[in-house]
Structures are given as C-alpha cells and as structure tokens.
C-alpha cells in the first residue's frame, strides 16, 4: 500500500514543552487511522503540524512522497465545529465553495470544474437540498457535514478530521462514517483524532495511541494488551476504559 501520509520522527515544541517527540506514522491510501490519546497528548498538535500550521523542530511530513509545503493542496481539513464562524452570512453551498478558494486562485471566479466539485461534495454529504440555506440555521449534525463537504470539495488525497464525533448524536456519527466511506473507497487517506474510543474502534482500520510519542499502533483487533492502553492514558485503575474497549484484563 502506498503511504499517502508519512510522518517521520516528528518533533514539535510548544513553548517550553515538547509536545511531540519523535512521532512516526503512516496512513495508506484508502486507510482510516484513529489518533487516540488523553487530553494534552498532542493529537491536535500532530494535525496542526501536518497542516503546516506549526513550526517543526525536526523530522518531516510527506504527502504522497512530497514535503508538505509543496503538497498542501492535497490535504483536506475538518476542524472542530467551533472553529467556524457560523454567524457569517453565507449559504451552505457558499461555505463549501470556500474549500476551493485556493484551487480557484487569486482574482478568479469559480469555473465549472469548481462548481461540479461543490455539487459533488454537497451530494455526498447529503446537503444538496440545503444548499441555499444560511449556515446559521443548521443543526449541529448538519454543520459537521458542511465542514466535511468543504474539505471534500478540494478533492483531497489526505483528509484530517479533528474530533468529528464530539458533540454529535449517534445517527450523525453513523452518517459521518458513511460520508467518509466514499472518499475512503476512492483512495483518500483519513486521519482522525477522537475521544470516542468505541466509535474509533468501530470505524478505523488502525488505531494510533499517542502520548507525546506513539505508544502503540496497529489494527484495532491487535491492540489487546492492556499495558499499552495504561501507558498511553497514564491510568492505573483502568477497568472502565478497558471494558469499554473490550480489551481482556
């Protein structure tokens, strides 16, 4: 399998604190990897470093074998919902179109290819009927779908999702999983941070337990060693955690 996203010995410092210390991670085309870890483990930092939003102390990020600085357009990003200005006067279609602002280019208007990409992303997200609705009038689950559609509109090779399952109900979680199934089948690599371990275990091909470094990584079914989870989450009495995950004690 080709590595759509490859993170090599990535070390990132936030102020004085070493947030990521030698992180190695690959996500293959069509693969979905869940990034798991306690608060402060560096999950969001890793996403931000991959996006080129944070200075990297050492190591590198490769997208399709190219350094990330040259291949940014191949990344789609679905931020947490509160990052988006939902009170801005823009329609669903208009918001999704901003996913192509860079592709359209300076001083240019959207071309038919851009409109097609937006229509396709709207259709995949089940938002076609809502395309002319102002984003301020959407429900939480619909907003999450707008963010995914915006990312899909740039037809990314790598899709990063930051806590997509937080604060949405179970039907919306299922819809989101269905939503990324198509691009996943088309070869898009997905990397998702989440607190929702059962959802991650159910949807991801592989899990990566992160706590400053990669504590453990592998297909969900293989992460059966309780010690790995205890180390990643820094807990001692972990009955509940392990029960939820179905890890044998």
């Amino acid at each position: 399998m080709t590595a759509a996203l490859r993170v090599e010995s990535l070390r990132v410092r936030l102020g004085e604190r070493l947030a990521l210390d030698g992180v190695d991670l690959t996500v293959g085309a069509g693969e979905m990897v869940g990034l798991i870890g306690p608060n402060g483990a560096g999950k969001t930092t890793l996403l931000r470093a991959v996006l080129g939003l944070l200075p990297v102390e050492s190591g590198q990020v490769l997208i399709g074998g190219e350094p990330v600085a040259r291949s940014r357009r191949m990344i789609g990003y679905v931020p947490q919902r509160h990052e988006f200005a939902w009170d801005f006067p823009v329609t669903v279609a208009g918001a999704v179109l901003t996913g192509r602002t860079r592709a359209i280019g300076w001083l240019r208007r959207p071309r038919s290819a851009d409109r097609e990409a937006v229509d396709e992303a709207l259709a995949r997200a089940g938002l076609t009927d809502l395309r002319d609705r102002p984003v301020g009038q959407l429900s939480g689950g619909q907003r999450q779908r707008v963010l995914v559609a915006r990312a899909l509109a740039s037809r990314p090779a790598v899709l990063l999702l930051d806590e997509p399952f937080t604060g949405v109900d179970v039907p919306t979680q299922e819809l989101l999983t269905d939503l990324v199934a198509r691009p996943r089948a088309d070869g898009t690599a997905l990397l998702m941070t989440t607190h929702d371990l059962p959802a991650a275990a159910a949807t991801c091909d592989r899990l990566c337990l992160l706590n400053q470094r990669v504590v453990a990584e592998g297909p969900t079914a293989e992460l059966r060693d309780p010690a790995v989870w205890l180390r990643a989450f820094g807990v001692t009495s972990s009955d509940q955690l392990l029960t939820v995950l179905g890890v044998p004690k």
Partner: protein, 286 residues
Amino acid sequence: MIEILAEPWQHVFMQRAFTVAMLASVVCAVVGSFVVLRGMAFIGDAVAHAVFPGVAVGYVLGANLAIGGAIAGVVTALTISVVSQNRRLKEDAVIGVFFAFAFGLGIVLISTQGTYTGDLASFLFGQILGLSDGDVITVAVVGAVLIAATLLLRKELVTVSLDRETAAASGLPVFWLDTALYVMVTLAIVISLQAVGNILVLALLITPAAAARMLTERLGVMMLLAAGIGVACAVTGLYVSYYYNLASGGLIVLALTAVFAGCWLAAPRYGLLGRRRQRARPLAAT
C-alpha cells in the same frame, strides 16, 4: 417639494458635500460589512483615532492632511496586526494601548499650533461644507480602488473570515489578508473623515452594515443594503443640516442610528418583533 430638494444643489459647496458624503457612505458600507461580520469594530475605532497624529503632522508641516492621516492610520493598523500575533495579549488590549497613544500624540502636536481649537473642531466633527474639488476627486479615486479591492479579494476574505485555521492550512496568507483588510478600513476612514469627522466616522463604517445584517443572510445583499442605507442617511442628514442649520455630521449619524434601531426592532426574521413572532409559533421555523 422638488424645489426643496433641488435648492441645496444650486450651491457648489453643497454639490461637493453630497458627492463626498454619498461616496464615503458607499465605501464605508462595503468595507464595513467585513468589519461588522468579523467583530472588528474596535479596530475601526482605533484606526479612526490613530489617523489623528498623522493629520496633526500634516497640519503642522502644512502638507496634505489626508496623506498624513493615511500614513499614520496604516502604520497603526500594521502595528496592531503584528503585535496582536503575540497571543499572550488579547487584541483588544493591544488596540487600546495604541489608539490612546496615537490620539494623545495628535493632541500634543496640534497644541503646538496657535489656532488649536478651531482646527481640532474641524477635524473632530468634519468639514463637509468646506471641501475643494481636489477633495472630491481624492475621495472618488480612493473609494473606487477600495471597492474594487474588496470585490477582488472577496472570496479570500470570506474564506479567512469563516475559518482562519483552515484557510491558513490551505495555504492562504492569512496574516497578509488581515493586514490588507486593516489597511482598507484605514483608507475608508481617512476618506470619510471630512464628511463626518473623526469621532463619528465609526458610525459610517459600522451602523449601515450592522443594520443591513439584520435584514439579510447574504453578504452581497448586505453590502448593497448597507450602501443604500448609508447614502440615504447621508443625503437626509445633509438636507436637514441645510434647512435647519444643524451639524451635518451629527445629523447623518442620528439618521443612521434611527435606521439601525428600526431594523433591530422590526427586521422580519432577526428583529426583536420578528423573533417574538417566531417564538409564538415555533413549529413554523422548522
């Protein structure tokens, strides 16, 4: 009636006043729409005050006041933009520091001149009845450039306004787009100073856009409505000023505020009354 409307236009100074007031209203409405949507009103305030020392320097040196003001405003906008990158300080604190400094500096500079109070008054409250043809041309040219810039950068400005992180991740130069917007706000303020003065210029920038926001969910419509509201209020203010010999800048702001209050109360969907009506029949909304 037609006579009443036509009479002020017989005077050249009123023709210039109408032209500048309307142009400034349109420019402020278009740029101000972004100011309102991004919650940048305080920056507008800061820049309006920061223009003051530049105007004062221009006055002391006998140079063009608008150019002095533009330079000072842009320098302040850039400084705020750079200093606020330091996340330890909230942007509003940085702005508070700089605009008080700039205004203080301006007062000191003006006080070195003998005719202190008269010039200060014309700067603070506008001098729309004392405009030259050169002033009119400057406002028209700068205004046209600003509107063109806003429309050309609209797609990028919307993208950044919606979500800075994702915009930056996609490779858009977020810092420079912010800076461009600050500079555009500054220039809009400088060309509007003569119409309503330093203290009231914020109303031209914020109030029409805020009123228009109550009426629509589309950015383009919001800009058009804001421009219409601004022009109507500027013209109304000037007529009342002409016939009743009252301060034109203040009248324009009062007219704008009245329209805003009307929108706030009676806007169909988002106004106070509209919201109450919707609450009375909650199922109709969904």
